[in-house]
């Protein structure tokens, strides 16, 4: 402890003497040299402090600016997201508008009375089987009403109404395995039965052998079929199979007039069928 005290005493004597010398002889060469030496030694810390000081001085404002930018960025991101959604909706509306305009122009040319309906639900598990439309009994839709789809500038048979509810209906597609339509083959007028297969193709059965059926032949609904009005485009023959030895008619593959994959709206033809054909749907009864 005493050694430490001695050291402290020596140190204070030394430094105090040095200070007093500087104070007593401020104009002496020693004091002047000490002042110059101190100034030159310590000045760089101030010089560089001043040089880089503005970086530190700007830190609070930069930090605030960063926070503001971040907030602005978040707000802009939200805005961009909203605008993207709106843009997507707008482009969907534009294409829908175009589609409906052409469909409306087309529907004016159709000889049947009916109303347009939007497809509101398609089940992937029953893609070629059925779908729902947004019109029901409140809009006058009835069971077995004919459903037309627009392909390009031409109406084609899509199917018929299977179930009717107050605000929506279920449509049985012609491509459904349980659906069929009696058709006439355009040039000759022979009648045959077109059936769905549950795929994108239809199958035509009971074509008389002498029908001279060829690929590309156009099929229209026959006046003989009661369910559908006559003259609706059903599809085109894509492939004709040769007659089997044990059968007395030929079969063919038919490409449907309406592509279910691109269908967005349909035209429901009011049939006003009488009797059992207009039998009210089970769902409607409930």
């Amino acid at each position: 402890m005493s050694r430490e005290k001695d050291a402290a005493n020596y140190a204070i004597v030394f430094f105090a003497a040095l200070s007093v010398l500087l104070l007593l002889f401020p104009a002496s060469k020693f004091a002047h040299t000490a002042r110059i030496a101190a100034s030159y030694s310590l000045y760089p810390s101030m010089h560089y402090g001043a040089r880089y000081g503005h970086f530190i001085r700007n830190v609070p404002s930069n930090f605030v600016a960063l926070l503001e930018t971040d907030q602005e960025n978040r707000a802009l991101k939200d805005k961009v997201r909203d605008l993207e959604v709106k843009l997507r909706n707008a482009s969907a509306l534009v294409s829908e508008n175009e589609r409906l305009t052409s469909a409306l122009r087309l529907s004016r040319a159709l000889p049947w009375a009916g109303s347009w309906a939007r497809i509101v639900n398609k089940t992937p598990a029953d893609w070629y089987g059925s779908f729902y439309i947004d019109k029901g009994s409140e809009e006058g839709i009835a069971v077995n009403d004919t459903v037309l789809g627009m392909q390009g500038d031409r109406a084609g048979l899509a199917g018929r109404v299977l179930e009717v509810y107050p605000k929506f209906s279920k449509v049985l597609l012609l491509t459904n395995g349980a659906a069929s339509a009696v058709c006439s083959i355009a040039p000759g007028g022979f009648e045959a039965l077109v059936e769905g297969k549950g795929t994108w193709l239809l199958k035509m059965n009971y074509v008389p052998e002498e029908a001279a059926l060829e690929s590309g032949a156009e099929l229209l609904t026959s006046p003989g079929g009661v369910l559908f009005p006559a003259g609706i485009f059903v599809g085109r023959v894509t492939k004709v199979y040769p007659r089997e030895s044990f059968m007395n008619f030929i079969t063919a593959d038919v490409s449907p007039a309406v592509d279910v994959n691109t269908l967005k709206e349909v035209f429901v033809v009011r049939r006003n069928l009488q009797g059992d054909l207009a039998g009210r749907g089970l769902a409607e009864k409930r």
Binding site: A8, Y10, F15, L23, R35, M46
Partner: protein
């Protein structure tokens, strides 16, 4: 390595004080970081180092001013010696003792420097505003700076 680090801290303390007075002074008032550094080093360092730190920090303060060259050096050297003597009897590592020491020693140093200035230069450097407020600012700065110095001492072995 330690001496380089101490030199760096010494220069940083001086530069920080200068920068604070340049940019963060409030109504012309700022804590005297050189005084605070001298007091903290006196509390933490050994006998010779504490006096040396006081002297050189005082020299920095003298260099910043245009009055007596050596006045602050003498003042802070004596303060460091006094603290070195005091810390045998008081626990200056505590917050309250640091506050009291900073407050009291600020006024003592001001009076001492005032006396020196009147004796050697015949000018009165002390403003009433500084006399009334600066000791309290110093009292706030000392515990903070003490923690910084203490942390550096523990990690690097300086002082």
């Amino acid at each position: 390595m330690t001496i380089i680090l101490e030199l760096f801290i010494y220069l940083a303390s001086g530069a920080a004080y200068w920068w604070w007075t340049q940019n963060l002074a409030f109504f012309g008032l700022a804590p005297n970081l050189l005084f605070a550094a001298a007091l903290c080093s006196a509390i933490l360092a050994g006998p010779v180092k504490s006096v040396a730190w006081g002297f050189f920090l005082g020299l920095y303060a003298d260099m910043l001013g245009a009055n007596m060259f050596g006045g602050y050096a003498l003042t802070y050297s004596l303060m460091a010696y006094a603290v070195h003597t005091l810390k045998r009897h008081f626990d200056l590592a505590g917050l309250f003792s640091q506050l009291v020491a900073a407050l009291a020693l600020s006024w003592v140093c001001m009076f001492f420097y005032q006396g020196l200035s009147l004796a050697f230069s015949r000018i009165n450097p002390l403003g009433l505003k500084i006399f009334l407020v600066e000791p309290f600012l110093n009292a706030l700065a000392v515990p903070v700076l003490f923690q910084v110095f203490y942390g550096l001492k523990r990690r690097t072995g300086i002082l």
